[in-house]
């Protein structure tokens, strides 16, 4: 993985009312890689994702995405620039159908005016067809066709996770942020989800940053692992390097090296 970095964080600091959540974190994500953020609960992983897509604004630090350096990201700019994400506790439009949810992911791709859309004239009809076709491709890719017209709120949890991934994928992102995509899944669902993530990465060249607790899964699918603990970065490298890093082992197994 010697590609130029798609995403580069530098000196990120975030605190909530004086409580430091992230201190001085920086790392790079190369274009086309799967990068895993791991670490115990409260290590600052989700906060970091929120900073990357602009939900939180870091008090200090810089974000460079696709060659553009920013003090902080804004959610709309992030989405427009090609950053899509899923959430730890699913954020779907529960009252809408699967297809409509996936279509919302393509909201920013529409070019026709609202007048054309309301009256189905001009560019709107052809565009509607294109959006729908693109949404259907994503639905097929993630194998959720049987549920495409179901209301999302009625689907089981594992499927909702997949629909959320479909919505993110529908935006044709350059960078896909996945916050615990396999949380609460059984072994088979985890295998399926891992396979989808790897396929997305291979097929579309999408760069993926994911948070995951299952170390087996992380080591199996990622090219690059960043380890956080108490808001600091304690490890950064290939799965192989990180696996043998004494500090990482200590943080994970809870056995700090005995004081000399």
């Amino acid at each position: 993985m010697s590609n130029p970095p798609l995403l580069e964080l530098e000196g990120i600091n975030l605190s909530f009312k004086g409580v430091k959540a992230i201190s001085d974190i920086g790392f790079r994500v190369a274009e086309g890689e799967i990068c895993a953020l791991i670490g115990p609960n409260g290590a600052g992983k989700s906060s970091l994702l929120n900073i990357i897509n602009g939900v939180y604004q870091a008090q200090q630090g810089r974000i460079r995405f696709a060659g553009q350096e920013r003090r902080a990201m804004q959610p709309h700019a992030a989405a427009l620039g090609g950053i899509a994400r899923t959430f730890q506790n699913i954020a779907l439009f529960k009252g809408m159908s699967v297809l409509d949810n996936v279509l919302t992911g393509r909201n920013l791709k529409r070019r026709s005016s609202w007048l054309e859309q309301a009256l189905r004239i001009g560019r709107a009809p052809a565009e509607d067809d294109r959006q729908r076709a693109a949404a259907e491709r994503v639905i097929e890719f993630l194998r959720i066709q049987p549920w495409r017209d179901e209301i999302v709120g009625t689907l089981p949890y594992g499927l909702q996770k997949r629909v959320e991934l479909a919505r993110a994928l529908a935006a044709e992102p350059r960078l896909l942020l996945l916050d615990e995509p396999m949380a609460g899944m059984n072994a088979q669902e985890k295998r399926e989800m891992s396979r989808f993530i790897v396929e997305i990465n291979r097929e579309f060249g999408t760069t993926v940053v994911l948070i995951e607790h299952d170390i087996g899964v992380v080591m199996g699918i990622s090219h690059h692992v960043v380890v956080l603990d108490y808001g600091r970065k304690i490890g950064d490298g290939t799965p192989e390097q990180v696996r043998h890093d004494p500090e990482v082992i200590a943080a994970y197994l809870g056995t700090r090296p005995a004081a000399a």
């Binding site: 897509n53 939900v55 959610p75 709309h76 992030a78 989405a79 427009l80 899509a84 994400r85 959430f87 954020a91 779907l92 439009f93 529960k94 009252g95 809408m96 409509d100 279509l103 919302t104 992911g105 909201n107 920013l108 529409r110 609202w114 859309q117 309301a118 009256l119 189905r120 919505r167 993110a168 935006a171």
Partner: protein, 293 residues
């Protein structure tokens, strides 16, 4: 039987007038979870601006367009100055803010255009029209037609366009909406602007019916039972709720009035709303359990 039908249809048509006001509430409630108490003041402000322009010799259509522009500007100002700083506050805080806003808008209307009562003539005669043996009010028919056109327009806007999809997305889950790149402030601005437009239409019809005066802002109180019956989150609910209120209050007045005394019309809708609250708190078309203020 003919008389019954006349009362019923007259009531339904009158109910459409209530629906018009209720729709303004639904729009804003759906998009931002705010019960906008200032909707009545917006109705008044629109009607007063329009009638004052007319009285200064501005032609009808120009006055309409200028008033619409003023309402949109007002909506954008409200979003910017009041809603945005209060993002994420509790519903009761937002409700209190709109309550204050209602009085500010009323005061501004008064300061701008004076406090006297204006007559508003839309050029529709209010003489009864005979249709299939029934006597119906021409004005009510016109109001119903206008409301139908408005609802059609809104449903096209909200069901087919990107902004409509954004609105539904924001109403459903603001966090998810943010993640797919929807700008919440912009959606709110659009919704308030559309609510201003609905307020203008309601203001013209109500103004023509009652005269443009300060009691016009009290139509909010008539919209409340409509919302409780129809549900706060559904435009169809607002329509059906309005029809139910309109028809039942007229029928109650005519048939129960002689038995338990007149003036029934004024309080009957609230009794009906209370019954609905007990039996079906989310209203006929309401989604989930919603907080009432």
């Amino acid at each position: 039987m003919e008389f019954f039908l006349e009362v019923l249809i007259g009531g339904l048509l009158a109910g459409v007038m209530y629906s018009l006001v209720a729709i303004g509430f639904v729009l804003i409630y759906k998009a931002s979870g705010v019960f906008n108490f200032a909707q009545g003041a917006m109705v008044l402000f629109a009607a007063l601006t329009f009638v004052s322009l007319l009285e200064r010799g501005v032609p009808f259509w120009l006055a309409f367009i200028v008033t619409l522009a003023v309402m949109v500007a007002l909506a954008l100002a409200i979003e910017r100055a009041v809603l945005r700083p209060l993002v994420g506050r509790s519903p009761i805080t937002l409700f209190m803010a709109t309550l204050g806003l209602a009085y500010i808008i009323e005061g501004a209307a008064q300061a701008l255009w004076g406090a006297q009562v204006h007559g508003l003539e839309l050029g529709i005669s209010d003489e009864p029209l005979e249709l299939g043996g029934l006597l119906l009010s021409q004005f009510d028919l016109f109001a119903a037609g206008t409301a139908a056109a408005l609802v059609l327009l809104l449903s096209l806007l909200f069901n087919r366009t990107r902004i409509g999809l954004s609105l539904r997305a924001v109403a459903d889950d603001p966090r998810a909406a943010l993640a797919i790149g929807i700008r919440l402030p912009r959606v709110w601005a659009v919704v308030w602007a559309v609510a201003g437009f609905v307020g203008l239409v309601a203001g013209l019809l109500w103004g023509a019916r009652l005269g443009v005066q300060f009691s016009l802002s009290l139509v909010v109180l008539k919209a409340l039972p409509v919302l409780i019956i129809g549900g706060f989150t559904s435009i169809s609910g607002a329509i059906v709720g309005g029809l139910i209120i309109g028809a039942s209050e007229k029928l109650a007045e005519v048939y129960l009035g002689p038995i338990i005394g007149g003036g029934l019309e004024n309080w009957f809708p609230y009794v009906l709303a209370l019954l609905f609250l007990l039996v079906r708190p989310a209203g006929l078309f309401g989604e989930r359990a919603i907080e009432r203020v």
